[in-house]
């Protein structure tokens, strides 16, 4: 089982490799990937260095081209496929049909992974992408319960990658328009969710409030931890009560499920967080490396070490971690 770690910069990529990632996924510095944040991602020189660093140590680099180009943008996405292929990356992570088609036709030998942004949740959907584009792996959306993952793994026509740790998109990936409804900028078209230029913090006498394009997402009392204002993680008024009506700011953490994920043949575990620091990437990679090694050498005796959980809790978004959709009670 492969450990796939995120990197938004060369230091993060090196931290991932140094701490045990089998593969690192990255994006170019533009809207061709779903973490198109200012100051993040790779120009060609950095990517070249990163690939050399990883390949010298027997690790792989995947490039995410997982947004949805409009007709005018198609040429730019195709150029990104070419650039990645020329740099000799090990796989492309793609969501959109035309980009998949282009990569399959022009670079058939370069492995294509189906991005989580494609929202393929069944063996029927996966069959479409295998037959049309010859994908060699698919990243599952964070919507399936563990038992559903196990059933899908039995029948899937392609090896599967699942999310193991990191911030949790609670909406079906690739099919959420909450950001674009409020700001006009969407993960699918622009590679961003709730971009910072629409965020406004206001200090008040009893704390502060945060707005996204003038819509109040939350208020925080003095001293209360305040997270980034994505629409899904705000507090709202529903049925007369104010609460996190959609989701609390928590992190997905599936360490407890690792034996089941390994037993059902999941090919790779993905860590979320290209927008996070090298320290985050290194800390999370180190824990998951130890956990995967343990479950592979001794599946029956596997147990989660308290210091693993403590190390993950220190870097998690919010203060809690959750099994998220893998656990039926979350639904």
């Amino acid at each position: 089982m492969q450990l796939v770690c995120p990197a938004g910069s060369l230091p993060s990529l090196q931290a991932a490799v140094d701490h045990g990632a089998d593969a690192v996924y990255v994006g170019f510095r533009d809207a061709t990937n779903a973490r198109a944040f200012p100051g993040l991602n790779f120009d060609e020189a950095d990517l070249r260095s990163g690939i050399a660093y990883a390949h010298a140590r027997g690790r792989k680099i995947y490039v995410a081209l997982n947004t949805y180009p409009t007709p005018a943008q198609l040429g730019h996405w195709e150029a990104a496929v070419e650039r990645a292929a020329d740099l000799a990356v090990d796989a492309l992570i793609i969501a959109e049909l035309a980009v998949l088609d282009y990569a399959a036709r022009h670079y058939p030998a370069l492995p294509r992974h189906l991005s989580v942004q494609s929202s393929a949740t069944t063996h029927a959907a996966l069959r479409f992408y295998v037959e049309e584009f010859g994908i060699s792996r698919a990243v599952l959306p964070r919507v399936l319960a563990m038992q559903q993952v196990e059933r899908l793994a039995e029948k899937s026509p392609v090896p599967l990658e699942t999310f193991a740790f990191g911030s949790l998109c609670i909406m079906v990936e690739g099919r959420c328009q909450l950001s674009s409804y409020v700001t006009g900028a969407s993960p699918n078209r622009h590679g961003v969710c709730s971009p910072a230029k629409f965020v406004r913090w206001d200090e008040t006498a009893d704390g502060r409030s945060v707005r996204l394009n003038d819509v109040l997402i939350d208020r925080f009392a003095n001293g209360e931890a305040a997270g980034y204002p994505t629409v899904c993680k705000g507090r709202y008024l529903v049925r007369g009560e104010t609460f996190h009506a959609l989701e609390e700011p928590t992190s997905l953490n599936t360490l407890d499920l690792l034996p089941r994920l390994a037993a059902c043949g999941i090919a790779a575990l993905k860590i979320e967080g290209r927008q996070r620091s090298p320290a985050y990437v290194g800390a999370v990679a180190a824990v998951w490396r130890r956990a995967i090694d343990r479950v592979q050498s001794d599946p029956a005796g596997f147990r989660v070490e308290p210091d693993w959980q403590a190390a993950l809790a220190r870097v998690a978004e919010g203060t809690q971690t959750t099994l998220g959709p893998y656990h039926r009670s979350w639904h």
């Binding site: 409009t70 929202s119 069944t122 919507v143 328009q177 409020v182 109040l216 009506a245």
Partner: protein
């Protein structure tokens, strides 16, 4: 342009659903979409009931399309989808790639609903080859994108285009049920509380401004999209059909409003937002004012309206 009635997004008691469609059968609608697109636990009408209703409506001379679920998670849901695809009588609206594949495997023509991500002419061409005859663009696709697609597409390649022109916009889906969460119930033991809210549960900001609607696992806009004043632009963009989403009240008025708009676009809007069409945030409103001055600014604090 033709008028269509999109699938019912809410969960109503069986009697209400049947009465609603009996009333719809009397209205000047060209096509009607039937079926459950949000939650597989909603079974006031089962597969056979929807089929019977489809036959009744088809007998009135309307086109009838059966809409598929948007998020397929369980094997049982995939089995239901297979039965829907194999119904043998009516065209199906695919709302995810599972449905696209099952329809393609059977060589059946289909409508690609707003749950399928298609953003450019090549993706459309790929699905044309798979059997797509009609495309309902996702909510965020507007005038400029449609123009780009028409310009880039080969002659005769484009499917029919059906644009969402009226209703609360389907913005997001989740594995989680937000209605159950709001009632502090587990999804597996939800007591079908969606039945309590025929138009979803209002989610308001902490200053009391209605913002979104919770509808089971779906999140909708609070603001009602209304593209009637833009009808000339839609026509020029090559839109063939206008989709109106069912609401428990006022559908006859809405259909009449759009029928009139096809002849002469209104100078005041009845709904709230059209931002996506104009390439802006979906909640925004541009162009002609609302007929009710108190509803000019969706998303703004109530106190500011």
């Amino acid at each position: 342009m033709r008028l269509t009635l999109g699938p019912l997004q809410y969960f109503w008691p069986r009697r209400q659903v049947l009465d609603f469609y009996a009333a719809m059968a009397e209205l000047p609608l060209d096509a009607i979409y039937l079926g459950e697109t949000v939650c597989s636990k909603r079974r006031e009408l089962r597969g056979g009931d929807w089929l019977a209703l489809a036959r009744e409506l088809a007998a009135t001379g309307r086109e009838v399309v059966l809409s598929a679920l948007t998020l397929i998670e369980a094997e049982s849901e995939l089995a239901s989808l297979k039965r829907l695809v194999g119904n043998g009588e009516f065209a199906v609206e695919a709302n995810d790639m599972s449905a696209v594949q099952l329809l393609r495997e059977r060589g059946l023509p289909f409508v690609a609903g707003p749950g399928v991500n298609l953003y450019n002419q090549r993706a459309l061409a790929l699905l044309r080859r798979a059997g797509m005859t009609r495309w309902v663009p996702g909510v965020e696709q507007g005038r400029e994108q449609l123009a780009e697609i028409r310009q880039a597409a080969d002659a005769g390649m484009l499917p029919e285009i059906e644009l969402i022109a009226w209703g609360r916009l389907p913005l997001a889906y989740s594995a989680r049920c937000f209605t159950a969460r709001a009632h502090d119930l587990a999804k597996d033991d939800c007591a079908f509380r969606c039945l309590d809210d025929p138009e979803g549960l209002t989610l308001a900001t902490r200053e009391g401004a209605p913002f979104l609607r919770i509808n089971g696992i779906q999140v909708q806009s609070e603001a009602v999209c209304d593209l009637a004043p833009e009808i000339d632009q839609l026509r020029a963009a090559g839109v063939n059909l206008l989709r109106l989403y069912p609401q428990p009240q006022g559908m006859a008025d809405t259909v009449a409003y759009f029928r009139a708009a096809l002849a002469q676009p209104p100078t005041q809007r009845r709904g709230d937002c059209n931002g996506y069409w104009h390439g802006e945030a979906g909640m925004r409103s541009a162009g002609p004012p609302h007929q009710d001055p108190l509803r000019q600014r969706p998303g703004a604090p109530l106190a500011a309206r």
